[in-house]
Symmetry: C2
Subunit: 381 residues, 2 copies
């Protein structure tokens, strides 16, 4: 293993691709006649295929959750929680993570070629909802021969997918992990998404979503979207601690270039994102977030919605997460208790805001590890 | 009085203009050789000129705080608190409100003609800080023959001006009202401002701030800025109560036009603002907010900074204001107590967020009125 790879890493990983030719009818009524899913796996699938854990990604996530791609210096996005001896212990579990449909990291999405036009889909790619992702994930499980997951786990938008698994395919998972998530967005959440979408769509380089054909990128809009989103992932406290009111230079320059450290940081994050992420995917992912509200089909009664679930639940929130505050997780916990489900809940003290779910905070790691030990023990893994 | 004007209104008001030819040296080192200030007054200045109250406006505010302009259906921005029998009772007080320098409602600012080029200043208009506004306000007071204000009062950025008055001209005010404000912005506050500025400045119609010469407006950037700012003025609760997840139409359309009520509302607010407010003024006002940190010149000791003050203080915060939370007001209160000043503080229960300071919430109106009665009584008005 190359020198920079730590011993508790899953090591070098290579994405794989699964092709599907059975049409997928989406919630919107549109149909994807064929599509590809890119995914990664870590650990070994056991003989009776009972040790698989599905990881669902969030808005800007992808299939590369752990380990290193050849040549990369940074590991996957949830490497802190996935690996030998880590919370999701790859010595015991076979971990599967995919890029969702509509994504821009290899699975079929707006940057893929539309077979009907031989041009990139762009904004013609159909909107995908959480339900559709869960269905496509179930098909990937079929493809891999996994009948039932030991656990389906996700954070943020990934948590919504995990939650939906619990009642969409109640017999295909034993445990459900919903981290830093919510049963539906609030008006404020939707509003933040719409400010970002508006910035992207009004960017003159957006070209109604067909910017690829024009060799253009709505970079300004994407940068604004990311700067704003990034702001909502961090807490006021975390930003205060990290940057405070520190200036980049000795004194105020009375100009409009970034002067405070926090401004430079946001510019850096926005710039980086705007050159690597697809704008149509961003729009599509935020709409999936906005639309998610499974209880609306059960008289707005979340307990009723969750009643069909057969799994046990692990719910985690973080004190300074103001995007999906602990109260939002507690709505899920309350509904699960009301629906007579087995639920373990932890609200983790952290100053890191929404981003905390990606960070190895000691109590979080400890309780996550303990819970996954319980999963392994109860399933005889 | 026209029929639609209520009896507790100051009625029809007409702005006035004061011209200044004495150069104003700004904190940045730049000099405004001459400038105009547009202002309004309500009530009558008494014989010994002891009943004047100065109102300082916030980011998007102006001189039109109360009453109606001829033909207008909506009154000034703080009409709920200024008028006969209202908290700032115009039967007793002479109320003065001006548009700050750098504004876009009549006072000299980026849309004014630069006498050196005979073109609009645009982004060549010098940056103005809170200290500069206080100095220009003091000059306006001189012009009107007001030696000492009964009170200087402001909300949000206006509260910062009031606070600065207390130690910049300690003998020119008897009372200081600081409402929904903060002693300085947090990193998160600065970050929100920078996202807005970046959206404006990267708009191709910005033309380095000289859009007027090109007959252009950075409408998209301004709209994004306003949608975002508006979001931070409202609380999650207030938005939930007002809009919830209500759709504009019967069902989801799977399109990117506004679908939720909250989206339409933000679009409306953003559109309206982007056609009426000047982008350079927006940039300048947000920088004045970012720079405000008077304690930095007193070893970061706010009590030491406020030590020279000779006025009594009235500080108000609102429970769901997350732009300037009650904790930020309490920093001011704590420093005032430490500096041995007379301070009255109220944290008002409200679900309206930062905007609450503009809304006639019963307890707010009651305590504001009671405090202003005390001011009148102690000053024998």
């Amino acid at each position: 293993m190359p020198q920079h790879i730590p011993s508790d890493s899953v090591g070098i990983v290579t994405p794989q691709v699964a092709k599907f030719d059975t049409p997928l009818e989406l919630r919107s009524g549109k149909v994807l006649s064929s599509y590809e899913i890119v995914y990664e796996t870590y650990g070994e699938l056991n003989a009776n295929k009972s040790n698989a854990v599905l990881i669902c990604h969030a808005l800007s996530g992808h299939h590369h959750a752990a380990g290193f791609h050849e040549g990369d210096k940074k590991p996957g996005w949830w490497d802190s929680c996935i690996g030998p001896g880590k919370a999701i212990d790859t010595n015991r579990f076979f971990v599967l993570c995919l890029n969702n449909l509509g994504g821009c990291h290899g699975s079929t999405g707006p940057t893929s070629i539309n077979p009907q036009t031989n041009k990139p889909y762009g904004s013609d790619f159909p909107m995908v909802r959480v339900r559709d992702w869960v269905e496509s994930q179930a098909r990937l499980a079929d493809y891999l021969g996994i009948e039932k997951f030991a656990a389906v786990i996700g954070g943020s938008l990934g948590g919504m997918q995990a939650l939906r698994w619990s009642f969409q395919y109640p017999d295909r998972l034993s445990y459900c992990g919903v981290i830093a998530s919510a049963p539906k967005l609030s008006a404020q959440n939707i509003a933040f998404n719409e400010v970002a979408r508006n910035a992207i769509m009004k960017d003159p380089e957006f070209h109604d979503g067909h910017y690829m054909e024009k060799n253009a990128i709505p970079k300004t809009g994407l940068m604004t979207a990311r700067m704003l989103a990034h702001l909502t992932y961090l807490s006021d406290d975390a930003m205060g601690e990290k940057f405070g009111r520190d200036l980049k230079t000795d004194e105020i320059k009375y100009g409009y270039k970034p002067e405070f450290q926090v401004e430079s940081y946001l510019h850096y994050q926005g710039e980086k994102f705007s050159t690597t992420f697809d704008a149509n995917t961003y729009l599509l992912m935020t709409k999936a977030l906005d639309y998610f509200d499974p209880a609306q089909y059960s008289d707005n009664d979340l307990a009723k919605c969750l009643a069909p679930a057969n799994s046990k639940f692990f719910v985690v929130s973080f004190t300074t997460d103001w995007r999906f505050s602990p109260e939002r997780s507690e709505e899920i916990v309350d509904a699960l208790v009301e629906a007579d489900k087995d639920v373990t809940y932890a609200c983790i003290e952290s100053e890191k805001g929404h981003d905390a779910f990606l960070i190895p905070i000691p109590r979080y790691v400890k309780i996550f590890t303990a819970y996954m030990n319980r999963v392994a023990k109860e399933l005889n893994l």
